[in-house]
Symmetry: C2
Amino acid sequence: MGLQNTLRALADPIRRDILSLLKTGPLSAGDICSHFSVTAAAISRHLSVLKEADLIRDHREGKFIYYELNASVLEEIMLWITELKGDKDDA
Amino acid sequence: MGLQNTLRALADPIRRDILSLLKTGPLSAGDICSHFSVTAAAISRHLSVLKEADLIRDHREGKFIYYELNASVLEEIMLWITELKGDKDDA
DNA sequence: TTAACAATTAACTTAATTGTTAATTGAAGT
DNA sequence: ACTTCAATTAACAATTAAGTTAATTGTTAA
């Protein structure tokens, strides 16, 4: 958990694109897949990395599993960056 | 260049620690090394990754090479995050 | 229960990253 | 020129990550 997982998850262009897709609302895994040219299995693993970082949440509806963005954890990155840019007085 | 390099560079705890060390001002490679328990060669490569991402700048002074933080590129991440959290209307 | 479909997990391959030690570059002093 | 010290680069071993295909899990409907 934490910053490490979040940054690791964001350090991949496909995963960032997935997050952008989810900006407008939840999508099923299949819907997400259809936007990329890799296999469903590959996307599924990307989704699990994002989920591990708590950047997305999932819930099943019948046959489908829907994913939705959880942008709140990005706050931690904002804080880290702000701190790095900000007060030059504590190490 | 760009967001990809920046996020990749940040996705390593040692590299983030290096940036934090540089918050208070420039340090030589040796100074930086002394804070970690890996070899100088390993740190040198971390530094080159950070430099490639333009997160740090270097300049030589005699035998020493000093590194300093360039936090300005972090702005791009802030923007990306803000956009992701913000306007829910464009994909 | 069987068939069909959505999605994940498993097994495996390949490429990228991280670390080590050894060799190299660059600058300063003798 | 030679030595010494700071730092990087090269070459290699080990780990991690990302992709593929094939098998498995979970759900719905006949």
